[in-house]
Amino acid sequence: MSDERLHTNLLGIAMQTPVLTASGTFGFGEEFADFVDLSRLGGVMVKGTTLLPRRGNDGVRITETPKGMLNCIGLENPGVEHFLKETLPRIQQYGMNVIVNISGSTAEDYGKLAGLLDVPGVAAIELNVSCPNVKEGGIVFGTDPEAASAVVRAAKAHTKKPVILKLSPNVTDIVAMAKAVEAAGADAVSLINTLLGMEIDIHRFRPVLGNITGGLSGPCVKPVAVRMVWQVAQAVHIPIIGMGGIASAEDAVEFFLAGASAVAVGTANFTDPEITMKICDGLTDYLAENGFSSIEEIVGKANPGFLGFPKDVQKG
């Protein structure tokens, strides 16, 4: 299957397709190498990385919900040094765009991480300010426009890589958040992270998850994600990477039509490890059947208020 129609360029990164994988759901890419041509992805947003190693949460970490799942992994990871020394060199061989998702407890943490990751082989940095499973500060960065802006500024000050701010859906006003981080210099936004939820074990009279609450993802959240992409696309002039519940090419098209320039697939990788390849195939078919020659032609097409962005942002 030729991907010609799907070639795109986002933030200066040449992408064979506009289909990425969402952080935390696809490891470092290599785990899926038996099922996915990693270089065909627009990029792999690798597992959330922190300055120091983290053990994550104890107890039950996931549970299935109606058309979705809750997770409270809690950012388990071996730390940025290990990533740079061990992981990054190893995954280079797959020829994929590596986008590193980072989390910190302070704006300075983000600055340091961004600096450390300003190395060849890293295509961009994604700032996770919205992980609901981490106590110290995570949720505040994600829900306060000022705090999120500080994180963006700290990261931008320490790297030349494109900086993507990942927005939390657990806010009253997603547009205010997006505008704030745009003003602070974010090169793009990705949305949505997970919705905060929980499940209770009615036989044991206690929450199912070790961390009590967790992040809701999967098809169930798609309507919320599409709405937020739609709203943000009417408010900012930077590209949007849309995600939340994408499990088919049709789902992905909804995000493009709402105004996303690229999409990321998360939970659906668990249902079907080959899903990203099927989505690429389906997108090509959709574009061909509807007479479009590039994905750019459908970005924001259903959204009359879509602002778009200076062409050089997209073209790099």
Binding site: G24, T25, F26, G27, F28, E31, F32, A33, D34, F35, D37, S39, K47, R55, G56, V60, R61, I62, T63, E64, T65, K67, G68, M69, N71, I73, E76, Q93, Y94, G95, G218, P219, T267, N269, F270, T271, D272, P273, E274
Partner: protein, 259 residues
């Protein structure tokens, strides 16, 4: 680009060849999956995508038997929830999607293993017993005689078969751990491999250690990817680290996971 290695894991639709209720709510399922049958080692598992009912997550089950000639693999599972219920309703000819083989199996270099199993833990051990070609003995425990329908399955595959039941309705009254010390003293086992309730496995591992015999345990934890990518299945190891049941296990040397 070409992939660095030949793929070792397969995902494919598999036709149900047979489905049989072995005991109340316990089913024996055979599916056609020739590549996986060729690759799967005892102790490995698969992730099943049950296509009826819109599941987000796959369901992990151990490989209970393999028939390379027929290109089939078999599972034994208990109906405990929505997924296993839907699975049990599949009829021959219907399709289930199989991802596997996953994880690491039992070490195969031993000459005289003692298998210790309880409940559904006996399922992956069945494949191990078959792979050991008669070299293993088995000790199995259950609440009642009824739960030990497993005996018939293991009888042909193992040398000796020791039984315990909580109520004494079959074999020795008590737990596997009640009789294990005596069995280990009498036999000349070079490994104990165990799968079942965690409390049982901890007891078994402790006794094996006391007898200076290596012990392998097979763990369970809820899984999403099954590929080592999502960290749903992290567990603590005795050295204070984390490992992934799906990738580093499900089989671990006992001392790596039980203090």
């Amino acid at each position: 680009m070409t992939l660095p290695n030949q793929p070792k894991k397969i995902v494919r639709d598999a036709k149900v060849l047979a489905q049989q209720e072995l005991a109340t709510d316990v089913f024996f399922l055979v599916v056609e999956a020739p590549e996986i049958a060729r690759l799967a080692r005892a102790g490995q598992f698969v992730q099943l995508r049950i296509l009826s009912g819109d599941f987000t997550l796959r369901r992990p089950v151990g490989v209970a038997a393999v028939d390379e000639k027929k290109g089939s693999i078999a599972f034994i599972y208990r109906v405990v929830g929505r997924g296993t219920k839907a699975l049990s309703e599949l009829m021959p000819g219907e399709i289930v999607n199989v991802l596997g083989p996953l994880g690491h199996g039992f070490a195969m270099q031993y000459e005289h293993p003692l298998i210790v199993g309880g409940g559904m833990g006996l399922s992956p051990l069945l494949y191990y017993a078959a792979a050991m070609q008669g070299k293993a003995d088995v000790l199995m425990g259950g609440k009642t005689a009824e739960e030990l329908f497993w005996k018939n399955l293991f009888d042909d595959l193992c040398g000796q078969c020791f039984l315990t039941t909580d109520d004494g309705s079959l074999g020795t009254k008590g737990f596997t751990t009640t009789v294990l010390p005596e069995i280990l003293e009498k036999g000349d086992y070079d490994v104990v491999v165990t799968c079942g309730p965690e409390i049982m496995m901890r007891g078994v591992a402790k006794i094996a250690k006391e007898h200076g015999i290596p012990c392998e345990v097979s763990l369970e934890k809820r899984m999403a990817c099954g590929l080592g990518a999502c960290l749903s299945c992290s567990i603590d190891t005795t050295d204070g680290q984390r490992k992934k049941v799906c990738k580093d296990g499900p089989v671990f040397p006992a001392e790596e996971v039980f203090a």
